[in-house]
């Protein structure tokens, strides 16, 4: 890109805009995003995101795999919220199967509740990660480690239930791979009551309401609600701008309609609505809401009656009837949609993922105009991208 050369009228000196190449290897690009930043001193004139460094042809790969074996690939999209990805994909395939009476899959209630519990736990883990990295982008290092010990505990729980710590392959078409081990429900409630909730209060003390933090994050990267809708933002990016749209509430899937919870929206407590601080705080509040959902789900969850209850009787090879379906679920980062088209064979004819991060990242170029370099990092942190999902 050719940078502009301007001549100062007073001194006659030539000034040239500097092109900074931020990433793909940079501490704050959250993976392998590359930002081409045109700067005028500390000011950012323009920042153009370049993506594709983590492109792994997920959609094309999926066409060569059977429906069940796509799940590990789905895990690797948004690797911080694998459970939520699995859930979205599993529901998509199950809906497709349900198009014909012959292939319809009946799920037991227990499966639905297990799915909700793990998905919400994963949402908490994912948000903890974001709160940590976002504050780290702003120069505070300690919140990151404090929040990570809680995330570690959630990973421990997942390890116990699925055998893996990051990419679980746990939620399958027709159920989940294993039932909860004995006493697992108590472990979750103990963790929430004794560790997570007090630690969240500590986190608020340390960083959320820190004066410097508020000064840095409020008033930066403001997205108005009209703009958020126009750019097709979703998840905390949209709710941070004051639009209370949450698929768990507005288009409930699984058993989400059975829980009583609030949709957290940005209220512009400090500065205008839709600032980076609002987006941060929406995620912080969503942790509380997820805790509510988990508590209710564990309460309502029926006890296991037979050993194989969590795996519905489905044929070894999943063959959905011909047809297509689009299912959207609320990922921690926004609306995760799966379009699945079947030609009646054992492999999907086409899978397309609607990635929330990809859409949210699109506003980056607009937000970065005229901000400071430090703000650029703040904005990028608050968008909360996972490159695995942007590039797919």
């Amino acid at each position: 890109m050719i940078s502009n050369v301007t001549t100062d009228s007073r001194t006659g000196l030539e000034t040239r805009e500097m092109v900074l190449n931020m990433g793909p290897q940079h501490p704050s690009t959250h993976g392998v995003l590359r930002l081409e930043v045109v700067t005028d001193g500390e000011l950012v004139v323009k920042a153009i995101p370049h993506i594709g460094y983590l492109h792994r042809c997920f959609e094309k790969h999926a066409e060569a795999l059977s429906y069940q074996t796509v799940i590990p690939y789905v895990d690797r999209l948004d690797y911080l919220a694998s459970m939520n990805n699995d859930l979205g994909y599993a529901i998509a395939v199950e809906t497709l199967m349900g198009k014909s009476e012959k292939t319809k899959i009946e799920l037991s209630d227990r499966v639905e509740y297990i799915r909700v519990v793990v998905a919400e736990l994963n949402r908490i883990a994912s948000h903890l990660m974001l709160l940590g990295t976002f504050t780290m982008d702003l120069g505070a290092i300690t919140p990151f480690t404090w929040l990570f010990r809680d995330r570690e505990y959630i990973l421990d729980l997942f390890e116990e239930v699925s055998g893996a710590r990051l990419l679980y392959n746990y939620i399958r078409v027709g159920g989940v791979s294993y039932d909860f081990p004995p006493g697992f429900e108590k472990k979750i409630t103990d963790f929430i009551d004794e560790t997570l909730e007090p630690h969240m209060a500590e986190c608020d003390d340390l960083i959320t309401f820190n004066k410097i933090f508020i000064e840095r994050a409020a008033d930066v990267g403001v997205v108005s609600s009209e703009e958020a809708l126009a750019w097709a933002l979703s998840g905390p990016m949209l709710r941070g701008s004051g639009v209370g749209f949450d698929l768990r509430k507005d288009d409930p899937y699984s058993v989400y309609d059975r829980f009583d919870f609030e949709v957290a929206v940005g209220d512009g407590r400090y500065g205008p609505i839709g600032s980076c601080w609002d987006r941060y705080y929406v995620r912080r509040l969503e942790i509380d809401e997820s805790i509510k959902i988990i508590r209710q789900a564990l309460e309502q969850m029926p006890d296991a009656t037979e050993p194989d209850e969590v795996r519905s009787a489905i044929p070894k090879t999943v063959r959905p009837p011909e047809g297509e379906v689009y299912v959207r679920t609320e990922n921690p980062r926004g609306e995760l949609g799966f379009f699945v088209r079947s030609d009646g064979s054992a492999n999907p004819f086409r899978i397309k993922g609607r990635s929330p991060c990809f859409c949210n990242l699109s506003i980056m170029e607009r937000l970065s105009e005229g901000c400071l370099i430090a703000d650029l990092i703040t904005i990028l942190g608050s968008v909360d991208i996972v490159l695995g999902e942007v590039d797919r």
């Binding site: 500390e42 505070a140 290092i141 010990r149 500590e202 003390d205 400071l372």
Partner: protein, 392 residues
């Protein structure tokens, strides 16, 4: 130095040697001791920094190298010593090599005028304070050299930020120092300390509310001049990778690193000598061991605060940094200088009012600090949590 030369002449019994020789030997000895002591202190300080950060962050920190990791920094120093010193291809070689030396020299030269105890100074200058201020500002030249010579845009940005920051914060730092000068009526470090003898109530922080304010301002300005959080924008890791020393490796990097710690030490020493009574003890009377333990204790407390702040605060933005510097610190420190002058000129009967206000202000700030400290002190993983993890 004078005292040391006389002492040397007397103890060796060589009366024929001219006094000037003894002066040179004495000066070299004192400088040698100061450099040796201060050369080792960064090692110790890095260890302390690691341990404090670990305990704030609920970690253990270095534990394997020596007793509780005591030798870890020594091991790292050796590692840096043997590492390759990379020079970027397009860099300005001469400036690139010189820069760490300039930064290092500026920091260490300032040590010469710092009193370590009653009458223990490498160079007992009558304008010691001015000398220290001048020497600490030399390092900014080295930083700009490093940023320019590296031929790296991140380094350049870091250097520019550093220049702007140090130049801005020199002003409030100088005014803060001037307050002590006004109160003591001398520029000599030793005399300023001596002016605060006779018990804790004679320390400038307790003697005058303006002294206390100036102390706080000087401390804040000192944080900015040493590039410590919340003013670490020149090396803001998440924004500028590593700022002006991005391209440095091996011992050259270590020089920057050591200079940073020595600068911290100078700030702590300045604060202790100018406002916290220097080598004077809490009670009136001659301090033990020329007051070295007292000075060290005060420096240690200030150092702890500097380190602790780094691990609990986020970073300011460039423009906010300038706002704090020019709109808050500069006017306030001007007021403290004027106030100190008024106090010095006001009749002795009114002094008690000043003292009461000073005690009240100091008390409030100390209490707030202790409360904040208790909230962030996470001295390794709490027992209860450990127990619950063992069950898991």
């Amino acid at each position: 130095m004078e005292a040391l030369a006389t002492l040397l002449a007397e103890t060796t019994g060589l009366t024929g040697v001219p006094h000037i020789v003894w002066m040179i030997i004495g000066g070299l000895t004192a400088a040698g001791i100061a450099t040796a002591v201060m050369g080792v202190t960064p090692l110790l300080l890095v260890y302390v920094e690691r341990k404090v950060s670990a305990h704030v962050q609920d970690r253990l920190g270095p534990m394997r190298t020596g007793f509780h990791g005591l030798l870890q920094t020594l091991a790292d120093a050796f590692k840096l010593l043997f590492k390759e010193q990379i020079e970027p291809e397009q860099s300005d070689k001469l400036l690139f090599v010189l820069a760490p030396g300039v930064v290092f020299m500026g920091a260490f030269a300032a040590l010469a005028a710092l009193p370590l105890g009653m009458g223990i100074t490498a160079a007992d200058l009558n304008v010691g304070l001015m000398y220290i201020l001048a020497m600490t500002s030399v390092s900014v030249v080295g930083i700009i050299m490093a940023g320019w010579a590296s031929n790296n845009k991140w380094s350049l940005l870091g250097a520019m930020r550093s220049a702007a920051q140090i130049v801005s914060y020199e002003v409030p730092a100088s005014f803060g120092v001037l307050t002590a000068v006004v109160l003591a009526g001398s520029l000599n470090m030793g005399e300023i300390s001596a002016a605060q003898s006779g018990g804790i109530w004679n320390w400038f922080v307790f003697q005058s509310p303006f002294g206390f304010l100036a102390f706080v301002m000087l401390f804040i300005a000192g944080l900015a001049e040493t590039n410590r959080v919340p003013f670490d924008i020149p090396e803001a890791e998440s924004e500028l990778v590593a700022g002006y020393h991005t391209e440095y490796s091996g011992m050259r990097f270590a020089f920057f690193f050591m200079a940073e710690y020595v600068n911290m030490l100078i700030v702590a020493c300045l604060g202790a000598v100018l406002f916290l009574g220097g080598w004077n003890g809490v009670l009136p009377g001659e301090p033990v061991f020329a007051g070295i333990p007292w000075l060290l204790a005060k420096v240690a407390v200030l150092m702890y605060v500097i380190v602790w702040l780094r691990w609990v605060l986020p970073r300011l933005r460039v423009d906010q940094l300038m706002t704090v510097g020019w709109k808050v610190l500069v006017p306030l420190t001007m007021v403290t200088v004027l106030g100190a002058a008024v106090q010095v000129l006001s009749p002795p009967s009114t002094q008690i009012v000043f003292r009461i206000v000073a005690w009240a202000m100091t008390g409030v700030v100390v209490l707030i600090s202790i409360r904040a400290w208790r909230q962030t002190a996470h001295v390794p993983i709490r027992k209860k949590e450990l127990a619950s993890r063992a069950v898991a």
